[in-house]
Symmetry: C2
């Protein structure tokens, strides 16, 4: 018999996990111990000297251009992977965005891809040689998926998640897993590995729950990655880190192999989806086209099938048309703060100036009801699964974990009450569909949140993103190119908040503290209109970024 194990304190376990993670960063790519870091660490990639000029050029490309360059033999997969291992190493050291870096495995895979390409003259697939980063709670074969909980360390995945397998078969190179918060349910990213910061201002959150992806891609430490979203989790990090992301309607992408350790299996009251996080709308579309081309519904019967004919051509081509764009400036509960209003005003002005769009105001719809319904739907077990994992090691309860669970009302609902909640959800969805159709818009342009990336531990207003989860509309986040400028973006204090939620957001916002935070916006299309949403977004982004 082996002696009974004495449980180790959670703080020691966490320190060990951090040390193990840090040890995965190759020694050659570590920053000197005494490096003085600016708040805006986006400059460190270049200033560190770790990447050559050629490597800096590689990590400047989006996934679409990178794949084209590899297919054109401009770069080998090994060259590309080496550049990204270096960039991810730097990104980790300045934003704390990784759970694991596995450089050796990635370089071996890249070498195989190069050899195969050399031998056959053909690329493996549309992601041949493209490094793809993966949010921790999605399984990558042979790697751990602690998913933000200390007690889940050590369960090595035997299989790739369905989505990961699709990318692997398409030639992707996996090289790292990225942080997500304890409970997976913050619009920030804090777990036993600590806090993940925005590359643009490390006093601010990277957003969440796919904050590791946001920070890594924002640092050019990844061209494209996979996040997940049930309330804003690919969109909040994209906004906080100045990148692009896409949350499709649920059931258009396969979800198998995602660890969802925070609620009961078989519960369907609110569903999440994964979605791509990347450097441009082209990359988002490239990802969606790839998934559709594999006919994922044949393996995963929960995925909405999309066969235009017995000869399947699953991604629908969009017929160009003049777009009618709705503008949602204020959700009726929390008015966005000054820089967000400025970014939206500038965007509207550019859309109008282009002459290519019909731009109309769009009225908000029952935002407070949305939160009452969805925040309760999140926790059918009143947080039991989360607290069970926390109790597994006695790890610290992150304050936002406690806060988000408390939003459900602080008690276990009965079976009947849960059914009533779902019926309320459905009634809300129907009523909102009528509101949307009455407006007659093709696409909505709206903030991603009421403020730029909040300071750590303060992101509590989810409605600008979670609304689109409750009603299940596809939504894209993109950078406008502008950033917070303390000189122009201060609030003058004259505005009287209409409620506590708004008062909290205005109390938290400080233009000086938010310096350099990216200003991003969100587009929203109708349920199931993923193709159209991306197409329309591309047109809008082209006009706004001009």
């Amino acid at each position: 018999m082996s002696p009974a194990k004495i449980p180790r304190p959670a703080a020691e376990l966490a320190a060990d996990a951090i040390a193990v993670r840090d040890s995965t960063i190759p020694a050659a790519y570590r920053l000197p111990k005494n490096t003085q870091l600016p708040k805006n660490v986006t400059t460190v990639l270049e200033s560190s000297g770790i990447l050559s000029a050629a490597e800096l050029a590689i990590v400047d490309l989006d996934a679409t251009r990178l794949a084209e360059a590899i297919a054109a033999r401009k770069y080998s997969a090994v060259e590309v992977t080496t550049a990204y291992v270096k960039a991810a190493s730097v990104a980790q050291q300045v934003t704390n965005c990784l759970v694991e870096l596995f450089a050796a495995e990635a370089l071996e895979r890249a070498a195989e891809l190069d050899a195969e390409f050399e031998r056959t003259g053909k690329v493996t697939g549309p992601f041949h040689g493209v490094p793809v980063s993966i949010k921790d709670h999605l399984d990558v074969k042979g790697h751990d998926s602690p998913s933000g909980f200390l007690d889940m360390i050590g369960n090595v995945a035997k299989e790739d998640a369905h989505m990961v397998e699709i990318l692997r078969n398409a030639g992707a190179v996996f090289y790292c897993k990225t942080t997500n918060p304890q409970s997976l349910m913050h619009l920030e990213t804090e777990c036993y590995l600590g806090v993940t910061a925005s590359p643009w201002n490390t006093d601010l959150t990277a957003g969440g729950s796919s904050g590791g992806e946001g920070a890594l891609i924002g640092m050019k430490g990844s061209p494209i990655g996979i996040g997940t979203d049930i309330g804003g989790s690919v969109r909040s990090p994209a906004a906080a880190c100045g990148i692009y992301s896409f949350k499709p309607s649920v059931r258009r992408l396969p979800y198998g192999g995602a660890n969802i350790p925070v609620g009961p299996a078989g519960y369907e009251g609110i569903l999440g989806t994964h979605g791509p996080m990347a450097r441009g709308v082209d990359d988002l579309e490239k990802y969606m086209r790839l998934v559709a081309s594999t006919e994922p519904w044949k393996r995963d019967p929960t995925v909405v099938s999309d066969p235009p004919s017995l000869d399947v051509k699953p991604w629908r081509e969009v017929t160009p048309k003049r777009l009618r764009v709705g503008i949602l400036r204020d959700d009726g509960v929390v008015r966005p703060v000054a820089p967000i209003r400025r970014a939206l005003d500038a965007a509207v002005a550019k859309l109008k100036a282009s002459g290519d769009f019909d731009v109309v105001d769009y009225a908000p719809f029952r935002s407070a009801d949305n939160w009452e319904i969805i925040s309760a739907l999140y926790w059918p077990d009143n947080g039991k699964a989360v607290y069970d994992h926390i109790a597994g090691t006695g790890e610290r309860v992150v304050p936002l974990t406690e806060w988000i669970i408390s939003q459900a009302g602080g008690r276990q609902r009965s079976t009947e009450e849960l059914w009533q909640l779902v019926a309320r959800r459905d009634a809300f969805r129907s009523a909102f569909a009528a509101h949307w159709q009455a407006a007659g818009i093709d696409i909505l342009l709206t903030p991603v949140g009421p403020s730029p990336a909040p300071a750590h531990n303060t992101a509590r207003y989810w409605n600008y993103t979670s609304f689109w989860n409750l009603v299940n509309y596809p939504a894209v986040v993109f950078p406008t190119g502008a950033h917070v400028d303390p000189a122009t973006d201060a609030e003058d204090g004259a505005y009287s908040p209409r409620n506590d939620a708004e008062a909290y957001v205005y109390d938290c916002y400080d233009a000086a503290q938010s310096e350099a935070a990216p200003l991003c916006l969100q587009t929203v299309g109708y349920i199931g209109y993923e193709e159209e949403t991306l197409w329309a977004t591309k047109k809008i982004v082209e006009a706004i970024q001009k």
Copy 2:
């Protein structure tokens, strides 16, 4: 103050309801009191002398041909409606298939349609002037929807069900509502209005739960009607009455305005769908094309959207191909009885003889597990809602109501157990998708049930239909053209049943008792492949009926 009401006995209430229903049959269309009816009442339509030769020709047409004839001014809507009011009156008297006939309203509507067509030269829509029958639990504005429960009489619908509205806008004429069983959950049709019989042999059930539709359409008392299906409810009646029906995947058709008084709102463990019941595959497709053309997902966000482009063409055209047809002869639990085996053998022989199909055997998959899971999913409240309605008046509990509820295990499951059940459902669906895809078939050909229409009060084996509800595959029922012939279809008694369910089916089956029962078969396609399933079925039916 009004005096307190003394509740009347349920038997009196039922007798009143029957008398009210009977009074809706126009006196001129009543059969003489002493009419001697054969068991096969399909001949009575002609022998009754109630319909003229011209009217008999009208009710011989399927909905597609009927709509064409009206649009070509061969028949007026009033002529057509008159013929169908007569035919439905006869059908009611010989099969007990109606809840209400509203001839005057229908004729008024038909006259309006005729006048409009005369005035504009244009038909209102693809169902201009076509009578459409509606299963009772779907709301038709201005009419009652008792839905099989005595205590629900008297709640007049203020709006059409979404699907009913679509048909009304397309020019349909509503003239009757058809019976469904108490609890909506029998593969037979018995409620306070009595038992609905198969037109081919009134000793046998019309099937259920859309048994009123089955009997009415089987009697040529309707060209097309709407049923609903969560375990076989459009397919069992089609098989029992020798007609066509289609159960699509859930969420392709809008379900708003269906009264589902037998379970909790907000429960999603197993979902039903409505579906057309008609005289041919063309009619089923006509119905699906109509619904798609209205973009029903814009009003009902639970409907799977299907926008091929920003210019919506929602019904996908199928690219012709050679079909690989799987044959499922035995589900591994209950082998079909002799006439069903004969019908399937004959069909396979014709498919092979045509040379147009690749025909392969298909292995059954865990049928017993299917029943264990789906029968429990049916009753999350252990039948409470049903028994509450029954208690409302003290009406008699129909034996099959008690039986089907007892299949769930006879106890209320906890919230956690219900989640586990849904997780089991999802695992089953995934495993079955792998089984299906491994077979590489385009379409499956299989019995609709283990026997022809059972004698009243004996239909207890649901797996040949309910399996396709649990896995959510679209399925079509069609008549082979053959009927039970006691001379050739007797079981010799040599077969040893493998289990109690099989023993029960073989005990119940009697070739002489089943005389003239129609022999129908079922095709099944992949989830979401509604277009392809109907297209492939049409090819198969053409080959088999040749």
